[in-house]
Symmetry: C2
Subunit: 111 residues, 2 copies
């Protein structure tokens, strides 16, 4: 049960991103996990003294980012406001080398 | 061929809405149909003289509304800009009478 072989093979792409991203601004990338995990991440950053937190998401996960923003300010931190919302198109390189376009959102929350 | 019976029975729900909606603002509700249908609706409204069009969507369809906005301004009407984006929480009555909350977005596009 506790053997290391039980761990999934790490892709080594995800983890370093999360730490380097923090130095300039507090960013939460919304991915495929449950909504409440991202809500907790945002609330934690505000409680650790952040004045603003930026939620970022791409493609179908855009609606989840909106859910996270709405739950944070309606249920947890009523003094948090949406400062700005940006939408844009990003180009992603897929595995076969071709480029595909995907919509993205950035929701800036401030206290 | 030219007989009136060849016409489809009008639902009488859709058409009046579309015209009354236009008097205050040009709104396109993004639903479950293909993205390009909504793109066409927005482009048509601008080409018919509208100065602004508001895209509205709820829940998982929020990301589709962002796609529509991005495709309109990147591929069809380069002079169209995102004026404002609002996110909010709406309460919906489900069939059993209980209320459920859903995130919603309003993307205002202007020429």
């Amino acid at each position: 049960m506790t053997e290391e072989t039980a761990e999934k093979t790490e892709t080594a792409i995800e983890k370093p991103e999360a730490t380097t991203e923090k130095k300039d601004e507090n960013t939460v990338f919304v991915g495929k996990k449950g909504v409440m995990g991202y809500v907790l991440a945002v609330v934690t950053q505000f409680n650790n003294g952040a004045d603003s937190v930026v939620l970022k998401a791409r493609g179908k996960l855009i609606s989840r980012a909106v859910d996270v923003a709405e739950i944070v300010r309606n249920r947890f931190l009523m003094d948090v406001q949406v400062k700005d919302i940006l939408i844009k198109t990003e180009e992603l390189a897929s595995e076969d080398g071709s480029m595909s376009k995907v919509s993205a959102i950035e929701i800036s929350l401030t206290k």
